[in-house]
């Protein structure tokens, strides 16, 4: 099986879906001729032409709005937000229109769009190029939010998102783009949306996280295994709606749960995970549910020292995991 990077898995999924279904098209800032600022759409403009790979003006609300309109006319648009930080002008379109239309029209209309956006810090990007925005959308029924961690999951989940009949937000960790490489099959496959995945089996503590933090947690788990601490790691993959069964199962397996997100701690996706566990697993808990997250400051700082302070890294995770194991 070929080993490719996280971003190559994005490109491959889009290319294969555009080849498979002519209704699929992509629109966004610099996605065409430049092939995207991160090169996620490299080669697509040449292969599919300017009618299916559309450069847009710097108007995120238009990217979302046009995509929604096209979707309701039967197309399957993929809108790219150059950075997740820039999605804010499109929130009204995504939340008030895309997420609501099926419910509002009593199933007469639906909206099969995918909004892709690179998120996350640790790339020295400062306030407007480092944010995690999933929590803003994670209490909007009608939306799905997918945040894969591995190239395999990226390809399978992006294909599932494109084929989904309802709006899907697809957040890609920009630091993972070229850092994370993995085996990805050449052929067509789909990873179901809404299913969490056990990335490591263990007995002593459970770590539930998503995105780049999955890799950090795996590294920490590897280290702790040498000390005899066995870690069970669950990758949420879809952060909204959450896979409650898998979360409960993972939590009850060890009774000690660490939840990790790179986002600000308060009201984050893992806060909901914590609520699910405390509602359902009280008599299986052996320790207070532990959260490791970014501090509650407005956004990722630019100064490298401060960025390091803000960002989750394997050392911070290892420390938290050990603390939980020792409890």
């Amino acid at each position: 099986m070929p080993v490719i990077s996280y971003i190559d898995a994005v490109t491959q999924a889009i290319r294969e879906e555009m080849e498979r279904d002519e209704n699929v098209f992509i629109l966004g800032e610099d996605v065409g001729k430049k092939g995207g600022v991160f090169k996620a759409t490299q080669g697509l403009f040449e292969q599919f032409g300017e009618e299916r790979v559309i450069d847009t003006p710097l108007t995120e609300s238009a990217i979302a709005g046009v995509a929604i309109g096209a979707a309701m006319y039967g197309l399957r648009p993929i809108g790219e937000m150059q950075f997740a930080d820039f999605i804010m002008p499109a929130v009204n379109q995504i939340v008030s229109e895309a997420a609501r239309i099926r419910y509002r029209s009593n199933n007469d209309w639906h909206c099969p769009i995918v909004i892709r956006a690179p998120y996350g810090g640790g790339v020295h990007g400062g306030l407007y190029h480092s944010q995690s925005v999933e929590a803003i959308f994670a209490n909007q029924p009608g939306l799905k939010i997918v945040m894969p961690s591995t190239p395999y999951d990226v390809k399978g989940l992006l294909k599932a998102a494109i084929r989904d009949d309802d709006p899907v937000l697809f957040f890609e960790h920009k630091r993972a783009y070229r850092l994370i490489k993995g085996e990805v099959p050449d052929h067509d496959y789909v990873v179901p949306i809404g299913k969490a995945d056990v990335k490591r089996e263990g007995e002593d503590i459970t770590v539930i996280t998503y995105g780049l933090c999955v890799h950090f947690a795996l590294q920490a788990a590897e280290k702790l295994a040498q000390e005899g601490i066995s870690s069970h790691i669950l990758d949420l993959r879809t952060v909204y709606p959450l896979d409650k069964e898998s979360i409960m199962e993972a939590a009850m397996k060890t009774g000690k749960v660490l939840l990790i997100t790179e986002d600000n701690k308060e009201g984050s996706v893992i806060s909901e995970v914590a609520a699910i566990i405390s509602e359902n697993c009280l008599f299986d808990l052996d320790a207070p549910i532990m959260r490791l997250a970014g501090p509650d400051v407005p956004a990722m700082p630019f100064a490298p020292t401060m960025e390091k302070y803000f960002m989750i890294n394997p050392d911070k995770i290892e420390k938290a995991m050990r603390e939980l194991a020792e409890f």
Partner: protein
């Protein structure tokens, strides 16, 4: 002088590695701060790496064409500044800080149980005080309990089989008995979980004392049992004829019971074997005849002692029983009232019983139950059928001390005395 490291810089937001395209310096080159050192190619850009220091290139680590992860060393520079010392100091500072943070006071957590630990301990009937906690502050973790369950399952089964074997060959040592008792106790607990609507009554001191004595008696004394039927028609007639006069004269009721007590006391004088107790190596025959009288109030049973019963008249016995009963009802019994009993007479007839198996009042050797007096058709010696007042006397005996023969003789004697009680030959005074 110190050696500084030059690291692969991050040349863009998503860039995690870079390839050395060309070195612009070589080992020994003198460079100033910000002088370009090498050309680097990434996915996005080609850029020059500037020097962060002024000094002489000491070693070139990354070769041209090599791809290096961001943060890895590409070359080293020998500088004239002594910055390493500063760095070292910083490091020590940091270590000191982390030391103090780890010195935080850790309170013992041995008695703090998590929901998972409590649930497991209840489901498996585990005494948590037996588990050594490996968590912080000695806290018992879920894993500690799981390990304990896994380790004890096998030993539990072993113990049970041995106990069974020993039982079958009747060689239950005391230690094992204790063990199996404890086991029974823990095992029966789940059956005792009260369901809603059940009332849980805490065991009072007197209830506990009764329970302990009864259990001791039943477990230690091999009880045997026998019963005789007594014709007390004459006694009933006698007592009925004087009871009103007695009440007027003495101020308390004359019941049948003092007659029985008197008869028993007299018979015990003749059969001292029953007035004795088992003492392991020997049997002690008591000189004094002190009769314990079972007296019940609403929720407890007392056995106050009628001392020297053989020396007392029926009236004297009647008064003393009346006084002791009064003391029980008003809770005024003194410890002295309860001590020194050598044989027990139990008036079970007062609550309508016609037959009962008494539990011996430990450490005595026997207990006599006086049942209800009832009218029965009886075939008389001359072949006639008559209505007679009959009473059952039930005797529980310690078979270690007594045998059927002697007890039969004793009961026969009591029967004789009672059947001969009448106006003509019995004086209550």
């Amino acid at each position: 002088m110190s050696v500084e490291k030059i690291l692969m810089p991050q040349l863009g937001e998503s860039v995690t590695e870079g390839t050395i395209n060309q070195w612009l310096v070589s080992v020994g080159t003198k460079v100033n701060k910000y002088d370009p050192l090498a050309e680097i190619i990434t996915d996005k850009v080609t850029a020059e790496v500037p020097s962060s220091f002024t000094g002489i290139i000491k070693e070139i680590i990354a070769q041209e064409g090599e791809t290096i992860t961001v943060g890895e060393i590409i070359c080293t520079i020998e500088t004239e500044e002594n910055s390493t010392e500063v760095e070292q100091m910083e490091v020590t500072d940091l270590q000191e800080n982390s030391d103090t943070s780890e010195k935080e006071i850790r309170t013992p957590q041995k008695q703090r149980y998590s929901p998972a630990v409590l649930r497991l301990s209840q489901e498996h009937d585990i005494d948590l005080s037996k588990i050594t906690g490996t968590g912080r502050g000695g806290r018992i973790t879920r894993k500690d309990v799981l390990n304990y369950i896994a380790n004890n399952k096998s030993t539990d089964i072993e113990q049970e089989t041995t106990t069974h074997q020993e039982n079958s060959i009747q060689q239950l040592s005391q230690v094992n008995e204790k063990d199996s008792l404890a086991k029974q106790k823990t095992k029966s607990l789940p059956l005792h979980n009260p369901t809603s609507g059940d009332i849980e009554i805490p065991v009072s001191g007197i209830r506990r004392a009764i329970a302990t004595n009864m259990k001791k008696s039943k477990q230690e004394i091999p009880h045997a049992w026998m019963m005789v039927e007594v014709d007390v028609t004459n006694l009933v007639q006698y007592r009925d004829s004087i009871k009103n006069e007695f009440l007027q004269k003495e101020g308390f009721k004359l019941t049948y019971f003092p007659f029985f007590v008197k008869a028993v006391a007299q018979a015990l004088k003749e059969f001292p074997q029953l007035n004795s107790m088992w003492a392991g190596e020997k049997i002690i025959q008591k000189k004094d005849i002190n009769l314990s009288i079972a007296v019940a109030d609403e929720d407890a049973l007392y056995t106050p002692v009628l001392k020297h019963a053989d020396e007392k008249t029926i009236k004297g016995i009647a008064r003393e029983i009346s006084e002791l009963t009064q003391k029980v009802r008003t809770g005024k019994l003194s410890p002295d009232d309860l001590q020194g009993g050598t044989f027990t007479v139990n008036n079970t007839g007062s609550f309508g019983s016609v037959q009962s198996m008494g539990v011996i009042n430990y450490p005595q050797a026997a207990i006599l139950q006086v049942e209800s007096i009832v009218k029965r058709p009886v075939v008389m010696e001359n072949g006639m059928i008559a209505v007679r007042d009959k009473v059952n006397l039930c005797l529980s005996l310690d078979h270690r001390v007594l045998d059927g023969l002697i007890c039969g003789k004793f009961l026969k004697r009591v029967k004789e005395i009672l059947e001969n009680m009448s106006q003509e030959n019995t004086n209550i005074y």
